[in-house]
C-alpha cells in the first residue's frame, strides 16, 4: 500500500491552535473572534442570501416582479384608503412619496426581523448536522430583506424624481444614518428572537403581531406633526411625546423620509434629529451586543431543541 507524505499536513496541524468548545460555547484562537469568523464565511453568507432570493420566486411566471408587486399594492391601498378616502393626504404635500418612503424603511425592518426570527428553525437541517457560525442564518435573512429594500429604494427614487419630490442633494445623506439605525435594531432583535424562537415557537407568531402593531406606533401613514398636535390637544405631558419620538423606528422613519421627501419643513421633524439618532444608535449597538451574548449562550443546545 503506497504511503503518501503526510509530513506537510501534520506539520501544519501541529502549528494550528486549538478551537475550544465548553459550556460557554465556542471560543476561537484568533483575534477578532466572531467577527473574523463571520467575515471569513462571507462567501457562504452571500450564497445563503442568494438562495433565499432565488428559491423564493422559483417556478413563478412573474418571478422577480413579485418583489415589487406586493409593496406597490400595499402602497396603493394606503394611498387610496387613508390618503384619499380619509383625507390624510390633504394636510401633507407629495403624500405618495411621504407614504412610500415610510413604508419602504418600515417593511425592511419588519421583514428583516420576521425573517431572522424563523431563520434558525428554517435551517434546522444544517444547524443539526454541521458546525457553522449560527449567526449566519439571521444575518442571511437580514441580507435578503436588505436586497428587497434596495430594490424598493430604486422604485422610491424613480417615483420621487418623476414627482419632483426630492429634497436638496445634501439632505439625501440622511439615508445613511437612518438605514444604519434601522439595521442595528433589526440585527439586535433578529439575532435575539431567532435564538428564542428555537426554544419557544410562539416567538415567531408574537413577532408577526407586534410588527403589525408597531407600524402604527411610528409616523408612517400619518405625520409626526399630527401626533404632536394630538398629544397637545389631549393634554399629555411633554415626556409622552419624547417617548413616542425617541422610538428608534420612528427616528429611522423620520430620517429616511427626510432623504426622499423634499416637501417637509423643519416643523415636520423633532429638534436635534441627528443627535437623537446617534443616542438611539449607541443604545442599539449595546442591545446588539447583549442579544449576541444571549444567542451565544442559547446556541449550544440548538441541535437538540429542533
Amino acid at each position: 500500500m503506497e504511503i503518501l507524505d503526510t509530513t506537510d499536513r501534520f506539520a501544519r496541524l501541529a502549528e494550528t491552535p486549538f478551537k475550544t468548545t465548553d459550556a460557554q460555547g465556542l471560543s476561537l484562537p484568533v483575534r477578532g473572534g466572531k467577527f473574523r469568523e463571520i467575515y471569513d464565511r462571507r462567501d457562504l453568507l452571500g450564497l445563503l442570501v442568494r438562495r433565499d432570493l432565488q428559491a423564493r420566486y422559483r417556478d413563478s411566471v412573474l418571478g422577480f416582479l413579485w418583489t415589487l408587486i406586493r409593496p406597490i399594492v400595499q402602497f396603493l391601498m394606503y394611498y387610496l384608503v387613508l390618503g384619499q378616502f380619509l383625507r390624510a393626504a390633504e394636510g401633507i404635500p407629495q403624500f405618495a412619496i411621504f407614504l412610500f418612503a415610510g413604508l419602504t424603511i418600515y417593511s425592511f425592518f419588519a421583514e428583516a426581523v420576521q425573517g431572522a426570527t424563523s431563520s434558525i428553525l428554517a435551517n434546522a437541517g444544517l444547524v443539526k448536522k454541521i458546525y457553522l457560525p449560527r449567526e449566519i442564518f439571521p444575518l442571511a435573512s437580514v441580507g435578503a430583506a436588505g436586497f428587497m429594500f434596495l430594490v424598493q429604494c430604486v422604485v422610491l427614487l424613480s417615483g420621487a424624481i418623476i414627482f419632483q419630490a426630492l429634497p436638496e442633494p445634501v439632505e439625501m445623506l440622511w439615508f445613511f444614518p437612518s438605514v444604519l439605525l434601522i439595521l442595528v435594531y433589526a440585527l439586535a432583535f433578529g439575532i435575539l428572537l431567532s435564538a428564542l424562537n428555537v426554544y419557544l415557537r410562539d416567538v415567531q407568531y408574537v413577532t408577526d403581531v407586534v410588527m403589525m402593531l408597531a407600524m402604527w406606533g411610528s409616523p408612517i401613514v400619518y405625520s409626526w406633526t399630527m401626533v404632536s398636535e394630538a398629544f397637545k390637544t389631549l393634554g399629555l405631558p411633554a415626556w409622552a411625546l419624547e417617548v413616542y419620538t425617541n422610538n428608534p423606528i420612528t427616528l429611522g422613519v423620520l430620517g429616511f423620509r427626510k432623504a426622499f421627501w423634499g416637501a417637509g419643513t423643519p416643523a415636520d421633524y423633532p429638534d436635534d434629529l441627528l443627535l437623537r439618532m446617534l443616542i438611539a444608535g449607541i443604545i442599539g449597538v449595546v442591545l446588539l451586543y447583549i442579544s449576541h451574548r444571549v444567542f451565544t449562550r442559547l446556541q449550544g443546545n440548538f441541535a437538540q431543541e429542533m
Partner: protein, 397 residues
C-alpha cells in the same frame, strides 16, 4: 494498521466531557404557562447522553465509535463537531473539519444541482474559486451528468446522495466526521466511497466514524471506542473493540426477558469452543486444531439423536457448517439429562476476526429442532497476511 510513519499531532482532544439534555415535553407558551411551577417538573426530563468522556485523537488515525442504540456515540460525534456544546468539560479541535452527518443536509430542493454544489461546498468551508476548480471532479465522481442543471427536487434519492457525497469528499478536510451514511447508493458507488475513505486515510486525514456495522469498522478503522450509556468502556485495538461491543450487547440482553419458547424434547444448553489442549479458549490461532463442544439436555431417554453446528461472521454470513448426518455419524442412544458431543476442526483456516458458533439438536434430523444461536464466540488471531473470512498461505511467485 497505522499507515503514517509516526503518529501525528493531536487534532481532537475531549476533556472530561459530559452532555446533559433537558427534554421538555411542552414547547409552546400556552403549555409552559399551564405547566408552570411545581407541575412543570413532571414535564422536564434530565438525560445524560455523554458522561465524563476523555479522549485524544491523533492526526492520521481512523477511529470507529461503537455502541448500542442510545449509548451516546452520535452525541459524542456532534460534540467533536462543535454542533452541540458540552455541559461540563471541554472539546478542543484543530484543522479543517467536515462532517458527513447527513448527506444533502444543506441542499435546497428548488435550486439546481450546480447551485447546490456551490452552496454545499461553501457550507463545508470551501471558497468559490476552490469549488470552481474542483467542479468537474465533483461532477465526474457523482455521475450525475447533464442533470446537474436540473432542480434537485427532481433527482432520484440515489442521485441526491451521490451528489452530496461527491461534494463532501472533494472538500479538503483534516478531520472528517462520518455518521452512519456509508450505506447509500448502489454497490458500485459504495465501493467508490470506501476507496475514497481509504485514500483519505493514506493522505493522513483523520476520520471519526460512527457505525452499527462491526465489519465496516473492522475494515476501515485503526482504533475502536465502545460507549455504553454515555461512558467509554473500551478504547483500543479495533478487533478487541468489536468483541467489547459484543460483550456490551450481550450484557444488555441479560437484563431483557428471554422470549418464551415452546419446550422441545431435546435442547442445546450451551456451546463451548475448546483449544487444542482441551481448555476453553476465546482466542484461536489460525491453522490450529479446535474443538466445538455442544451441550444438550434430553427430557427423556431417546434411541437416536442428531446435532449440527455452524460458524458465522458478525455480519451473519456462514463460513462453515456441518452436522452428524453429513458426517455420516449415528449417535448412540441418549439418556435423560445432560450430555455433550464434540466436533473437531483439524485446521481452522478462518481469517482473523470474530466468529460466532450456533448449534442445533433434534431427535430425528430436521424435525422439532432446537437451535441455539450465537452460543459461543471466538477470535481468530495470528494471520495478518490476508484479509477476508478464510486464511490461506499466500506467497508471491
Amino acid at each position: 494498521m497505522v499507515l503514517s510513519p509516526q503518529p501525528g499531532p493531536v487534532v481532537v482532544c475531549v476533556e472530561g466531557v459530559t452532555k446533559q439534555f433537558t427534554v421538555r415535553k411542552d414547547n409552546t407558551l400556552k403549555e409552559r404557562v399551564v405547566h408552570a411551577g411545581r407541575r412543570g417538573r413532571t414535564h422536564k426530563q434530565e438525560y445524560v447522553a455523554v458522561d465524563g468522556v476523555d479522549l485524544e485523537i491523533q492526526a492520521g488515525t481512523t477511529v470507529g465509535l461503537l455502541g448500542p442504540n442510545g449509548s451516546g456515540k452520535s452525541t459524542l460525534l456532534k460534540l467533536i463537531g462543535g454542533i452541540v456544546s458540552p455541559t461540563e468539560g471541554r472539546v478542543m479541535t484543530r484543522g479543517r473539519m467536515a462532517a458527513l452527518l447527513e448527506l444533502g443536509a444543506g441542499f435546497h430542493p428548488d435550486l439546481s444541482g450546480r447551485e447546490n454544489v456551490y452552496l454545499n461546498a461553501s457550507i463545508m468551508g470551501m471558497t468559490r474559486a476552490e469549488t470552481t476548480e474542483r467542479f468537474d471532479d465533483i461532477l465526474d465522481f457523482s455521475g450525475i451528468g447533464d442533470f446537474i442543471d436540473t432542480q434537485v427536487k427532481f433527482y432520484s434519492s440515489g442521485m441526491f446522495v451521490r451528489l452530496a457525497f461527491a461534494v463532501a469528499v472533494h472538500t479538503d478536510p483534516d478531520v472528517l466526521l462520518v455518521d452512519e451514511v456509508l450505506a447509500v447508493g448502489d454497490e458500485a458507488f459504495q465501493r467508490k466511497c470506501m476507496e475514497r475513505i481509504a485514500k483519505f486515510r493514506k493522505e493522513g486525514r483523520t476520520i471519526v466514524l460512527v457505525s452499527h456495522s462491526a465489519a465496516q469498522v473492522q475494515e476501515l478503522c485503526d482504533r475502536g471506542i465502545v460507549l455504553k450509556d454515555g461512558k467509554m468502556v473500551f478504547d483500543g485495538n479495533v478487533n478487541e473493540a468489536v468483541s467489547a461491543l459484543r460483550d456490551v450487547l450481550e450484557g444488555r440482553r441479560v437484563g431483557e426477558k428471554p422470549p418464551p419458547e415452546p419446550v422441545k424434547p431435546i435442547e442445546v444448553t450451551r456451546i463451548e469452543v475448546l483449544g487444542d489442549d482441551g481448555e476453553r479458549s476465546k482466542v484461536v490461532p489460525v491453522g490450529a486444531r479446535m474443538r466445538i463442544r455442544v451441550h444438550v439436555r434430553a427430557r427423556q431417554p431417546m434411541p437416536t439423536w442428531a446435532t449440527g453446528f455452524s460458524i458465522d461472521t458478525p455480519m451473519g454470513q456462514m463460513v462453515l457448517a456441518s452436522n452428524t448426518e453429513r458426517l455420516g455419524i449415528d449417535l448412540p442412544a441418549i439418556p435423560a439429562g445432560d450430555s455433550s458431543m464434540d466436533y473437531v476442526i483439524e485446521t481452522a483456516n478462518f481469517g482473523a476476526g470474530q466468529y460466532f458458533v450456533n448449534a442445533n439438536v433434534s431427535e430425528v434430523i430436521d424435525i422439532d429442532t432446537h437451535v441455539l444461536m450465537q452460543g459461543a464466540r471466538f477470535t481468530m488471531k495470528g494471520n495478518d497476511r490476508n484479509l477476508g473470512t478464510v486464511a490461506a498461505t499466500i506467497t508471491a511467485a
